[in-house]
C-alpha cells in the first residue's frame, strides 16, 4: 500500500500544474480526434472503454487490496443490458448506458457478497469462477442485436446500437467517451476524498481497527464492489456504442485476467494507471498489427510485464513514469503515485 495517509477531506486545493493539465487535456480533447485515422479512432474508442474497466479493477485493488478477476465479465454484463435496452425500448444512449451500469452494479454486488467473508486468494479464485460463469452465459446467449424475444437475438440482420445524438460520428463519439471517462474518474475521486475513502483506508489498514472505530466494513466493502461493477457496466455500454455490437465469443475468462494483469502493469495506485492499462490492452495490439507483428507477442509481453511488475515495480508503469523526475511529473499533471 503506497498511500498510508488518509486522503484529505474538504475543498479541492487548486494547484497550478492542475490548471495546465486541464488545459492540455481540453486541447487534446478538441484536436486529437481530428488527427487520428478511422482505424485508430475506433481503437481509441475501445481504449477509453477498457480504461474505465481497468479503473474499476484498480479501485478494488488499490483501495481495499481486493483482487477481482471478474471485471471484464461485468463489462460484458453491462454491455448486454445496454444493448438490450437500447434495442428493445429505443431509449436515448445515456439511459441505456446508465441501465447497463446499474445492471452490472447489481451483478457486482452479487459477486461482492461472498467477498465479505473471503479475502486474498479465495476471493481471487471466486471472482475468476464468476468470470468463467459469465463467459458461459454470454457465449450461450450471445448479445442482443435488435431481434425479438427476451434475448433479442436476430438471425438475419445485426442492428447496430444507436449512438448518442450529439455524437454520431466516430470522432464525436471519441470526445463523448473521454467526457464519460472524466466523469468516471470524478466519481471515483469523489468517493476516495470523502467518507467511503476514509473507511476504505481504515479497512485496508486493519479490519479489526476499522470495526473498533465504528466503520461498517460490510457496507463499505459491498459499496466498493457495487461501484466497481457500475464502472465496468458503463465501460460495457460505451464499448457497445463504439463498436455498434458485441461479439459473444469475445468474453473469455482470459480477458478478465488480462484486464487485472494490465491494471497492475499500468499501476493500480495512480490515476494514470488505468489509462496506461487501456492503451496496453487495445492500442498496443493494434500497433503491433500495424507493423505486422503477431498478436500473441502481445500476450507474452503482457505476461512478462506482469511478472516484472510483481517482482520489481509494484507501482507499475505509472509509478515508473511518476518516478522519472519532477519535469516529467509536471507533464502528467502532478501524478499522485508516491514512488
Amino acid at each position: 500500500m503506497s498511500e498510508q495517509t488518509l486522503a484529505p477531506a474538504g475543498a479541492l486545493r487548486v494547484n497550478p500544474t492542475w490548471i495546465v493539465g486541464v488545459l492540455v487535456a481540453l486541447a487534446a480533447l478538441y484536436e486529437l480526434p481530428d488527427l487520428l485515422q478511422d482505424y485508430w479512432l475506433r481503437t481509441f474508442n475501445s481504449v477509453v472503454a477498457l480504461a474505465i474497466c481497468s479503473l474499476s479493477a484498480s479501485l478494488l485493488f488499490a483501495q481495499l487490496g481486493m483482487v477481482s478477476l471478474a471485471q471484464y465479465g461485468l463489462l460484458g454484463v453491462g454491455g448486454w443490458f445496454a444493448l438490450r435496452i437500447s434495442h428493445g425500448l429505443g431509449v436515448p444512449f445515456e439511459i441505456a448506458l446508465l441501465a447497463g451500469g446499474v445492471a452490472a452494479a447489481i451483478v457486482g454486488l452479487i459477486v461482492g457478497l461472498p467477498a465479505l467473508r473471503m479475502r486474498g486468494l479465495y476471493l481471487a479464485i471466486i471472482t475468476l469462477m464468476m468470470a468463467g460463469a459469465i463467459q458461459v452465459l454470454i457465449s450461450a446467449f450471445g448479445f442482443p442485436d435488435g431481434g425479438a424475444g427476451i434475448l433479442g437475438k436476430s438471425d438475419t440482420t445485426r442492428q447496430m446500437m444507436a449512438r448518442p445524438f450529439v455524437a454520431d460520428s466516430d470522432s464525436a463519439y471519441f470526445r463523448y467517451s473521454l467526457v464519460v471517462l472524466a466523469l468516471c474518474y470524478a466519481l471515483v475521486q469523489a468517493h476516495i476524498r470523502s467518507r467511503p475513502g476514509r473507511a476504505w483506508a481504515m479497512i485496508r489498514r486493519g479490519e479489526v481497527c476499522a470495526i473498533a472505530c465504528g466503520v461498517d466494513i460490510v457496507a463499505y466493502k459491498v459499496w466498493a464492489f457495487t461501484l466497481a461493477g457500475f464502472l465496468a457496466g458503463i465501460a460495457g455500454g460505451l464499448l457497445a456504442g463504439g463498436v455498434g455490437q458485441l461479439d459473444g465469443s469475445a468474453f473469455p475468462a482470459s480477458q478478465s485476467i488480462m484486464v487485472f494483469a494490465l491494471t497492475i502493469v499500468g499501476g493500480a495506485y495512480s490515476w494514470f494507471g488505468p489509462i496506461a492499462a487501456g492503451l496496453l490492452l487495445r492500442a498496443f495490439p493494434a500497433l503491433l498489427n500495424d507493423f505486422h507483428v503477431d498478436g500473441n507477442i502481445a500476450t507474452m509481453v503482457f505476461g512478462a510485464g506482469l511478472l516484472h511488475a510483481l517482482i520489481t515495480a509494484p507501482q507499475g508503469v505509472a509509478g515508473q513514469i511518476a518516478g522519472a523526475g519532477a519535469s516529467l511529473r509536471k507533464l502528467v499533471g502532478g501524478g499522485k503515485a508516491a514512488a
Partner: protein
C-alpha cells in the same frame, strides 16, 4: 431419456486428467504455498512438444517423455528462479504471478503453433474393450489408471517417506521447519518436479481426449483449481473426489436438452458452492 453410459465413461477419463492436475496443484500448494494457475499452460506446452515430435517423425515414446521433461523443466525453472523472488509476498500475488507465467506460455504456444483445430493421437486410441455396453478405448482406461496410481503413490509418498514428511512439515509452518533443519528449497524443488510431471501427463492425456489447443488446455486449470478448492488445497482424497464429480457431472449434462450448453459452468458452480460452504462463518484477520 438419453443414454448416459457413454457420457459417463468419457467423463471418467476427462475427470482423471482433472484429478491429475488438481493433485499436482494441492501437493505444490502444501509444500510451497503457491497456487499454480500455470498448471494447465505447462501441460499444454508438454502436449504441443510431444505432438510436434511425433509430427516430425519421432517415435511416440520419445515424444511423451520429451513433453513431460519439458513440463518438469519449466515447472522447476519457475519454482527455483521466479517463485523465490516473490516468496515473501502475500499468497494472492504469488498466485497472480503464476497467472503471468501462464500468459507467457500461452502466448508462446499460440505464436509457434497457432490455434488450428487438431488433436494429439495416442496409439492406445485405436483399440479398446467393452464395459457397461460401451466401447472404451485404452487411452481412457490408461488415463483413469494413471490418475488412480499417481494419487495413491503420492499419498503414500507424503505419508511414509522422509521427503514427504518434510513437505508436510513445510505445509504446517515454513519457518519452524527451516529451523528444525528441513532443507526448504530442496523439498520445494521436489514439489515443483512432482507438479510438473502431473501437469505434463494430464496435458498430454487431455490433448488426446479433447483437443490440442493452447487456450483450452491452459484453461483446463479451472476445473482443476475447482477440485483443489473442494479439497481446501489440503486434502488429497477430497480433491480427487471433487475432480471426479466435476468431470463426470460435466459429461453427464452433455445430452440433457436446455442445460447442455451450460455444462462448462459445472466447475464454477461446484467451486463457488464449496467456497461459500467453507467460509460460512465470518472471520477477521488480525494484522
Amino acid at each position: 431419456m438419453p443414454d448416459f453410459a457413454p457420457f459417463f465413461v468419457s467423463g471418467l477419463a476427462t475427470a482423471a486428467t482433472y484429478v491429475l492436475a488438481a493433485v499436482g496443484i494441492v501437493v505444490l500448494y502444501r509444500a510451497s504455498g503457491v497456487v499454480n494457475f500455470a498448471q494447465g499452460a505447462v501441460g499444454a506446452l508438454a502436449a504441443f512438444v510431444s505432438w510436434a515430435i511425433v509430427q516430425h517423425g519421432g517415435p511416440d515414446v520419445v515424444g511423451w517423455i520429451a513433453g513431460i521433461l519439458v513440463a518438469v523443466a519449466l515447472s522447476l525453472f519457475y519454482g527455483r528462479v521466479l517463485a523465490p523472488r516473490l516468496a515473501y509476498g502475500d499468497p494472492v500475488m504469488r498466485a497472480v504471478a503464476t497467472l503471468s507465467f501462464a500468459l507467457i506460455l500461452l502466448g508462446f504456444i499460440d505464436y509457434i503453433w497457432g490455434e488450428a483445430p487438431r488433436k494429439l493421437r495416442l496409439p492406445t486410441d485405436t483399440s479398446g474393450f467393452e464395459w457397461l455396453g460401451v466401447r472404451i478405448t485404452y487411452t481412457r482406461a490408461v488415463a483413469f489408471g494413471i490418475a488412480a496410481t499417481a494419487t495413491v503413490a503420492i499419498m503414500t509418498f507424503l505419508a511414509r517417506s522422509r521427503l514427504g514428511l518434510q513437505m508436510r512439515a513445510l505445509a504446517n509452518n515454513r519457518d519452524l521447519s527451516a529451523m528444525l533443519g528441513v532443507r526448504v528449497l530442496r523439498a520445494d524443488a521436489y514439489a515443483w518436479v512432482i507438479s510438473g510431471v502431473l501437469a505434463g501427463v494430464s496435458g498430454i492425456l487431455l490433448a488426446d481426449l479433447q483437443r490440442l489447443s493452447g487456450i483450452a488446455l491452459t484453461f483446463a486449470v479451472i476445473p482443476a483449481i475447482a477440485a483443489a478448492v473442494i479439497g481446501r488445497f489440503a486434502s488429497l482424497p477430497a480433491t480427487v473426489a471433487g475432480g471426479l464429480v466435476i468431470g463426470v457431472c460435466e459429461a453427464l449434462l452433455t445430452p440433457v436438452p436446455l442445460i447442455g450448453p451450460f455444462r462448462t459452468a459445472v466447475p464454477f458452480l461446484f467451486a463457488v458452492i464449496a467456497l461459500l460452504w467453507m467460509q460460512r462463518r465470518a472471520t477477521y484477520v488480525y494484522r
